[in-house]
């Protein structure tokens, strides 16, 4: 039941996304082809291009062609290079996904232990200093956007210290800075969440009972508290992963990372609308898939939520 409803929600989201990306080209004021080719381009060229793109056909027909294309992996061709957009996506997507997945793992590896530690240390108002340090530190870390981390990391670790390459994707070392830039903000946010959720769980009777059983503190915290704190964290954590994928656009730009985001930025500045359209569709679809996956995972991890929904 739960699975069906979630999948239906995903399908609705996907439909809305396709409609939006299709409408995008038509919402552009004036003639998108003229805008892309520039005012100096001859009228015949604009007319041929428009016809080649099918933009002169009635809207419903265009939408049908668009849908058919998307389903068969044909996203059109670039205005500028003539490359098939599907090929661009296939080339670039793996690089973006690697970055996003590594950053998510890095963020979780840092954030979960940190949040857990902070919660246990500040339980019942103990260690006010730690609490203030933790909340203001993570608060500030969350407030700084990833592209500024990127610039700071490049200046310090690539240009000044020369430890890592400043840009490009060559060898394992070139992953370190972009992953770090992408992970710092989410790590701080997740650490805050884990702390809040852990504090809540620590106040529950089952924790008192586990403590009454005199289980070792590590066992109470890791076996009893952590799984419950994590299920609650996961919902927001999922939203975060979506944001992280979007944040990779800026990070890719700073590190000249050969990913989708870099290509999207280029396409938008160059008014290469078919590429922009295809890439935005893919980004949106990834976000929807991630959200669906988080929902399903949550249902799997927390047996109660499935029961409540059915």
């Amino acid at each position: 039941m739960l699975v069906l409803r979630r999948v239906a929600r995903f399908a609705a989201g996907l439909a809305a996304l396709m409609l939006a990306t299709f409408a995008m080209i038509h919402l552009i004021p004036g003639d998108p082809v003229r805008a892309a080719l520039g005012p100096a381009a001859p009228a015949e060229l604009v007319a041929t291009r428009t016809a080649a793109l099918g933009l002169d056909k009635p809207l419903p027909e265009q939408f049908a062609t668009y849908l058919k294309g998307v389903v068969s992996g044909d996203f059109g061709t670039s205005f500028l290079t003539g490359e098939p957009v599907g090929q661009i996506i296939a080339d670039r997507l793996p690089n973006t996904l690697t970055l996003a997945v590594l950053a998510t793992l890095a963020a979780l590896l840092v954030a979960v232990p940190l949040g857990l530690w902070a919660a246990i240390r500040t339980e019942n108002g103990r260690h006010r200093g730690t609490e203030i340090g933790f909340t203001s530190g993570t608060g500030a870390a969350v407030a700084v956007p990833e592209f500024l981390y990127s610039i700071a990391l490049v200046v310090v670790f690539a240009i000044t210290l020369g430890w890592f390459p400043p840009a490009g994707k060559e060898g394992p070392l070139s992953y370190v800075l972009p992953v770090a830039a992408l992970a710092i903000g989410p790590a701080a946010l997740v650490a805050r969440l884990v702390r809040v959720e852990t504090m809540r769980e620590l106040g529950m009777d089952y924790v008192r009972l586990a403590r009454a059983k005199r289980l070792p503190a590590a066992m109470v915290n890791l076996r009893h508290v952590l799984p419950n704190a994590l299920t609650a964290t996961l919902t927001t954590g999922g939203l975060l992963l979506g944001g992280l994928i979007a944040g990779s656009v800026l990070v890719e730009y700073v590190f000249a990372w050969p990913g989708l985001g870099m290509r999207m930025t280029e396409a938008i500045t160059q008014k290469d609308f078919p590429v922009a359209q295809g890439v935005i569709l893919v980004y949106g679809a990834i976000v929807l898939i991630v959200n669906l996956a988080v929902d399903l995972l949550l249902g799997l991890l927390d047996p109660k939520s499935t029961l409540k929904e059915s």
């Binding site: 009777d205 009454a212 656009v249 730009y253 500045t269």
Partner: protein, 605 residues
């Protein structure tokens, strides 16, 4: 300490506002001054942050750009707020189905990264400041819409809204006249955070070259220009980057501080003075060797000199169930937690030794104490829903006691867990052990918790209102089980309850607590002959078959003093029909009053 960050944020924001006003008139000319000789310089005394490709001073440009950057952020936030408020209030104005559709769309958009929304909008609206502002406005709108929706829903239940609805006021008018004015404050507070977010978003857009286009410039555009030269002179990019960070953090800190003022939390008092705990040996002559549990002069103190438990002494024999009764706040639960060594921080336990089978458990070394209490103390809490871990299988939660304290193998521990579940009459225990707590009924959960206590050899069972959350029929089962388990293990059971009728039927002895002290102690079958006016009032407030139903049930006028209010005399004096001047001035000691009966009252002893 906490407001320090708020003050810092306010200072930053104020400084930015001043810069926005005075920046362009003061440094405007310098920012536009083209000097081809000085083009593309790094940091120097004349140009602390270097110069751009036309030789213009970057520091001056950065300061001048404050106005434009803030202005764009304000605009984007205003657009976001306008869209957000409309989307957020629509569900309460529209009929049910379209309303739900709108809130569904808002929820979907909240889960969608703002940057993607912004880029989409920017493609449609075109490159430049206009497109970027619109894009960021659209990007921040869903979050604001959700906030509005949540706040509106919380107000919609209020009495004045219900009254307006009854009077036939239209939905639109309810929203504009009643709902919006009442949620305006939190919305405006959140606007600060949103301005900060817009500022960062716009900087990001301009940095990608999708925002402000030359000859206009904002911080993001300066960053874009400087970024290309980052290898040669990092300072030209770091300056604007730092400005964006400071501004973003400043708005964020102010936003957080504003949100905090909206929900002020309680302050913490000073550390308590701890009465020294005398060694076990000093009280040897008073020790009852027969007793399983013996507690002398137990005190629990919290910071601010609050003492919710004062000088409580208890003795419980093997197989005996002692009921501890009293109103909420009488200190009965805290007494039991102190005995079990479970008083929450920052509470401090003081007073005499806690002897479990003649052993001062709190004087034992840490490792030893863990083992003793882990296997010999069983606890049953009020809410069986909450006392089992929802994420773990019931059998596993039982088995861990054996693996940790008795060093049993996992298989042995599991077998014992299944056996114990069967022992408390859970049918098909092998299957049940593999289930999660939510698959158990309330009564079964409580039995599983009792079974957990039976994994070791309980010497002391503390049951804190174990039947309050259960149906009356299930209550009886649990009470019978507690009785059986106590007799079978010869444990001492402390049964905490506010229900004197249940206590009277289950327990052997009753200890009555009031405002942190024991006021009476008597055999349960003599409750009818209770001496203390408070106990008598408790007993007479229980209706039975003979109660005259036409009369209102007896209740005790007044309220129990809080721990901080307890003075010199008898704490009950204020509510006592027998109270004299002596009662308010001098506290009556707990004294013998017939066989196995002690009472603390001047008027009856």
């Amino acid at each position: 300490m906490r407001t320090l960050s708020g003050l810092a944020g306010a200072a930053i924001v104020a400084l930015l506002l001043v810069l926005a006003v005075i920046g362009p008139p003061i440094w405007g000319d310098r920012a536009e001054l083209i000097d081809p000789v000085a083009a593309l310089q790094g940091a120097s005394a004349a140009h602390p942050l270097g110069t751009d490709n036309l030789g213009r001073d970057i520091l001056a440009r950065m300061l001048v750009a404050t106005r434009f950057s803030l202005l764009l952020a304000l605009l984007a936030a205003a657009i976001g707020a306008a869209i957000g408020v409309v989307l957020g209030t629509l569900p309460s104005v529209l009929p049910r189905r379209p309303g739900r559709l709108v809130s569904g769309v808002v929820n979907a958009l909240v889960a969608f990264p703002g940057l993607l929304l912004a880029m989409f909008t920017a493609v449609v609206a075109g490159l430049g400041a206009r497109g970027a502002v619109l894009g960021i406005g659209v990007a921040v709108a869903p979050g604001f819409a959700r906030l509005t929706q949540t706040l509106a829903a919380s107000v919609a239940g209020a009495d004045y809204v219900a009254a307006a609805r009854l009077l036939g006021v239209s939905r639109t008018r309810i929203v504009t006249r009643h709902v919006l004015p009442n949620i305006a404050e939190p919305l405006i507070l959140n606007l600060t955070t949103m301005i900060g977010g817009s500022l960062l978003g716009l900087a990001g857009m301009s940095f990608l070259g999708l925002g402000v286009q030359p000859p206009s410039y904002d911080w993001g555009r300066l960053l874009f220009d400087g970024f290309g030269r980052i290898y040669v002179s990092p300072i030209v990019a770091l300056g604007p980057a730092l400005m964006v960070v400071v501004a973003g953090v400043g708005f964020n800190l102010v936003g957080e501080a504003l949100a905090r003022t909206a929900s002020r939390s309680a302050v913490h008092g000073a550390a308590p003075a701890v009465p020294p705990r005398p060694a076990a040996g000093e009280d040897d002559e008073r020790r009852d060797t027969e007793a399983v549990l013996e507690v002398r002069d137990l005190t629990v103190t919290f910071p601010g000199d609050v003492t919710p438990v004062r000088d409580v002494s208890l003795t419980v024999g093997p197989g005996e169930i002692v009921g501890v009764v009293g109103e909420s706040g009488s200190g009965k639960s805290l007494t039991a937690y102190a005995v079990g060594g479970l008083v929450p921080y920052p509470g401090v336990v003081g007073g005499g030794p806690v002897l479990l089978c003649g052993q001062d458990v709190h004087a034992l070394p840490e490792g030893e104490r863990r083992k003793v209490l882990g296997t010999s103390l069983a606890m049953v809490f009020q809410d069986p829903m909450a006392s089992l871990n929802p994420a773990l299988k019931v059998g596993g939660q039982l088995a861990e006691v054996a693996t940790v304290h008795q060093r049993a193998t996992r298989a042995d521990a599991w077998r014992r867990a299944v056996d114990r579940l069967g022992h408390v009459r859970i049918t098909d225990p092998a299957r049940r052990a593999r289930q999660h707590p939510h698959e158990f009924s309330g009564g079964m959960r409580q039995r599983a918790v009792i079974a957990m206590g039976l994994m070791g050899t309980p010497r002391l069972i503390i049951a804190d209102e174990p039947t309050t959350g259960l149906d009356v029929t299930v209550q009886g089962e649990i009470l019978r089980l507690l009785r059986e388990v106590t007799e079978e293990t010869s444990a001492a059971t402390l049964f905490i309850s506010h229900d004197i009728a249940v206590v009277g039927s289950l327990c052997d002895r009753v200890v009555v607590m009031y405002a942190g002290r024991v006021v009476e102690e008597l055999p349960a079958d003599r409750l009818g002959a209770a001496a203390h006016p408070y106990t008598r009032a408790l007993v007479s407030s229980v209706p039975d078959m003979a109660t005259d139903r036409s009369q209102p049930l007896a209740s005790i006028p007044g309220r129990q003093p809080t721990p901080a209010e307890v003075g010199e005399g008898c704490a009950f004096a204020g509510r006592c029909p027998l109270a004299t001047s002596r009662c308010t001035a001098e506290r009556p000691p707990l004294e013998e009053h017939g066989k196995a009966h002690r009472v603390a009252c001047w008027e009856v002893s």
